[in-house]
Each structure stands twice: as C-alpha cells, then as structure tokens.
C-alpha cells in the first residue's frame, strides 16, 4: 500500500514543442509522458531529445511523475534517446512496441548499465511497457513478469488496431479482449494497468464513457493527448460520495465483527467479508489520494490481527 501512486492521467507532451514542455508543471495530471516517438518527425529526432534533456535538467521542482517515451529500441534512435535523457533523471521510460519479454528485458539491462554509469541506485528508473500489437497482447503475461522495474502496463489502442488491421471505434468493442488480457497480466503481478488515449479531443462525452468503461474493467488510469481531458478523467476516477460512505460503513462493520470474534457480518442485509472489506479499503485508499478522506485503512482492519 505504501507504494500506491495515483496514475489516473498520464498526459502526452510532444518532445519537440518547447511551449508544451514549459507548461508541464502547470498541468494538473498525475504524470506526463514526454514523447520522442510518434509526436516527433524524423528530421527532429536529434533536436527533440536535446530539448527534452535540457527541459528535464531545469525541471528540478518536480510536481508530477515524468516519463519519457523513447523510440523503439529496435530503431536507430532508441539507444541515443536513453543516453541523452537518462542523465536528466526522468522517473521512468515508456517503451513503445513492447512486443516480447526479451525487448523489455533489453531495456531493463540497459537501464542497469546507465544506473551504474551514473552512480544511481539500481532500479531507480521504472519501465512502462506499451502493449500495442497482437504480439504484445499475446506475450503480455510474460512481459509483466520480466522486470521489477515495471510499475504498470499501458495498453495502446491506436497501434493495436493498426496491427490488427481494424478500425478503432468509439465504442471500443474491438478492444475488449486485448484490454482484458492486459488487465489480467497487470493484476496477476500486482501492478497498475493504464488505458490508451482517447483521440477525439472535442468529444468529452465519448471520453467520459470510455473512461467509465475502463474503470469498470479495472484500469487505474488513462493516457491522454490534451490537458482539457484531465478533468473528465479525474472526475470518473474519483470515488463517488456514496461509494465512500458505503466503504466507511463496511470498515466500521468489520471492526465491530472483529470485536465479536468473527470475520463476517451483515450490513443492510448484505454479507460483509474479506473481499468486500478489501474493495472498501481500495475505495478509501483512492479517496484518500484524492483528498476526500483523512485516514488510510491499515492492513489489520482488512485482514484482522494474527
């Protein structure tokens, strides 16, 4: 629980746009992904990575998580991206085209080498693999177990639908299996799952619907392309007042149950047992991160004392 970090909203910021980079500290998203890959034209790759390096060096008062999306390691830019930006200490690297465990492991071993060279703690740089192809979806369960640096899995719907040669629809029916498989992989190793971007910046209702869908499935956050999308995403991920109230009642009930020497109790005619308590604790933990409740529920309330 100690390492719980809100990642509801990860905003893409093009690495070749100084005006956007300079506003990073103003955006109210939980994190940014500075992009050296798709957002940067081929003839600006070198200039962009120098720009990003300088920006990171000057962004000393960090107020959000900062990731850099490098070019694929298989490309001629990927390694140079790492060389340039890692000394400026981003929190982690978003790895595009993370199609196999081997390529993620390759990044892991490269990060180890840079940490040794820079005199940093081994494991300082995190990895956010992009699962964005049929191969990635098939291999995601092995990918998730590749490295302890991986703090979340990111599903990339745009590249995924391209690799499948299908249309990306707003309803997202075509994504259901892939989204679920990424979630299983993440939950199986106890890390977060982050959903794809919603490309239509003008369609806030569509964004809300998609965010509600992925929250229901189990995703804990979403990537986004425009700062205007932040509020909708945060609203959806914030626990509702009724959810918080019910969660508090559940915790209260289980505390009473424990005093009576049992781990099960009825609340409003519904059984409250360990899974219900765990779910309530998760709601309250998220609510706490949103500043909606003061206390964090400790493990003993969830599992009882030995």
């Amino acid at each position: 629980m100690a390492d719980f970090r809100l990642r509801r909203s990860l905003l893409y910021v093009p690495g070749n746009m100084p005006s956007m980079l300079q506003n990073i500290h103003l955006f109210e998203c939980d994190g940014v992904i500075i992009d050296l890959e798709d957002a940067v034209p081929l003839n600006e790759k070198d200039a962009a990575r120098t720009l990003v390096k300088r920006f990171l060096e000057n962004y000393t008062d960090r107020n959000k998580e900062v990731l850099v999306r490098i070019n694929p390691l298989q490309s001629k830019w990927g390694l140079n991206d790492l060389k340039e930006v890692l000394p400026a200490l981003p929190d982690g690297i978003r790895l595009p085209k993370a199609d196999t465990p081997e390529i993620v492991e390759r990044l892991d071993t490269l990060l180890t080498e840079f940490e040794e060279e820079l005199g940093l703690e081994i494991g300082r740089f995190g990895i956010l693999p992009s699962i964005e192809s049929a191969s990635g979806v098939i291999n995601v369960i092995d990918i998730a177990r590749t490295s302890t640096r991986i703090f979340a899995l990111a599903f990339g719907a745009e590249d995924y639908t391209a690799s499948m040669e299908i249309e990306r629809t707003k309803g997202g029916e075509e994504l259901f299996n892939a989204r679920t498989r990424v979630l299983w992989a993440a939950k199986a190793v106890g890390i977060q799952a982050l959903d794809s971007i919603f490309a239509d910046v003008g369609d806030m209702e569509g964004l809300r619907r998609e965010t509600e869908l992925i929250k229901t499935l189990g995703y804990t956050g979403k990537c986004l392309v425009n700062p205007r999308q932040i509020d909708v995403i945060h609203e959806v991920f914030a626990p509702k007042k009724e959810e918080i109230e019910y969660a508090l009642q559940v915790i209260d009930a289980i505390k009473r149950a424990r005093l009576m020497g049992t781990g099960v109790i009825s609340l409003g005619g519904k059984m409250v047992d360990a899974p219900v308590v765990k779910r309530a604790a998760r709601v309250l933990r998220t609510a706490h991160a949103h500043g909606l409740v003061d206390d964090i529920i400790d493990e003993e309330v969830i599992y009882g004392a030995e």
Binding site: I103, E105, R106, D108, T109, T112, I122
Partner: protein, 155 residues
C-alpha cells in the same frame, strides 16, 4: 592458442553416489568430495527428482559483468524430475572446493526449465555418477565477467 586454454587430464576414480531425500544437492556433492579427497571431478550423469530448486538465467542483452541486476532468479517448489545435472568440481579460493552446476528439470506438464543451479533439495532420490580428474594447477576464481570460472595454470 588464441581464445582457448587447455590442459590434459586423466581419469581417476569413478564413484556411484546416491543422495537421500531432503538433502541439499550442492552441499552433499561437496561433502562427498572432501570426504574422499576428490579435488577435481566431473559429473557424468544425474537422475532423480528434486524440489525447492533455485536457479538463475541471464537477462536478455545483459553485458558483463554478471551482477544481481542482470540475472533473473527462479524458485521452483516442485517436486520436479531431475533431467540433467552437469558440472564440475575444482578447488576454489583458499583451496576450498567449489562446484559449478547447471540443471534441467521437468515439470508435470513435460515442460523443461533450467539454468545455473544455486541449490536444490533431493525429492525421492538422486543418483549421480562422478569421475575424478587427475590434474594439477586448475583453480576456480571469480573472473572479470563476474562469475566463478576455472583458471588453468600458465593461463
């Protein structure tokens, strides 16, 4: 010869070894070697079954030296069929014997996993055939690559 060192050795005694359930493979092999005064040896064959296997693999793309961050450690509770155990025994630092073992084990599904063995416990039985090697001037030391490897006198 460039990139290669060698030394002729002769076969010494041969031993048929059986390790009983629950015992550590590496501890027992070394204890046997001390007891019989075997300084250099090669494991010719090993069959049986094992549990609590701890082995490692090297991560994709890892550069030398092999450090903890460059390996993945696997712990398999088992029991598993012992399909192969290969390796050798040579004197290490301070003349203490040291063994270098690689293992392959089979799951109930028939899938095989393997790697550099740290240790394993014998499950039902472990039958090992081992040959002593008569040679002098071969010692195991940690190399620049981060692993313990043998050095041949004159190298």
């Amino acid at each position: 010869m460039d990139g290669l060192w060698y030394k002729e050795c002769r076969q010494g005694r041969r031993f048929i070894i059986k390790i009983t359930p629950g015992e550590s493979l590496t501890d027992k092999i070394l204890q046997f070697a001390y007891k019989e005064n075997v300084h250099n040896a090669v494991i010719l064959s090993a069959v049986g079954s094992v549990k609590h296997v701890r082995l490692r693999g090297i991560k994709n793309g890892a550069k030398l030296p092999i450090t903890p961050a460059r390996i993945t450690i696997h712990e398999l509770e088992g029991p598993l069929e012992l399909l192969s155990l290969v390796g050798n025994i040579f004197p290490g630092e301070d003349v203490l014997l040291d063994c270098h073992l690689h293992i392959m084990v089979g799951k109930s599904s028939g899938e095989v996993v393997g790697g550099h063995l740290f240790d394993a416990k014998v499950y039902a039985t472990c039958e090992i055939i081992l040959t002593e090697l008569e040679v002098e001037g071969v010692e195991r030391h940690v190399s620049a690559s981060g692993i313990s490897t043998y050095y041949i006198n004159g190298e």
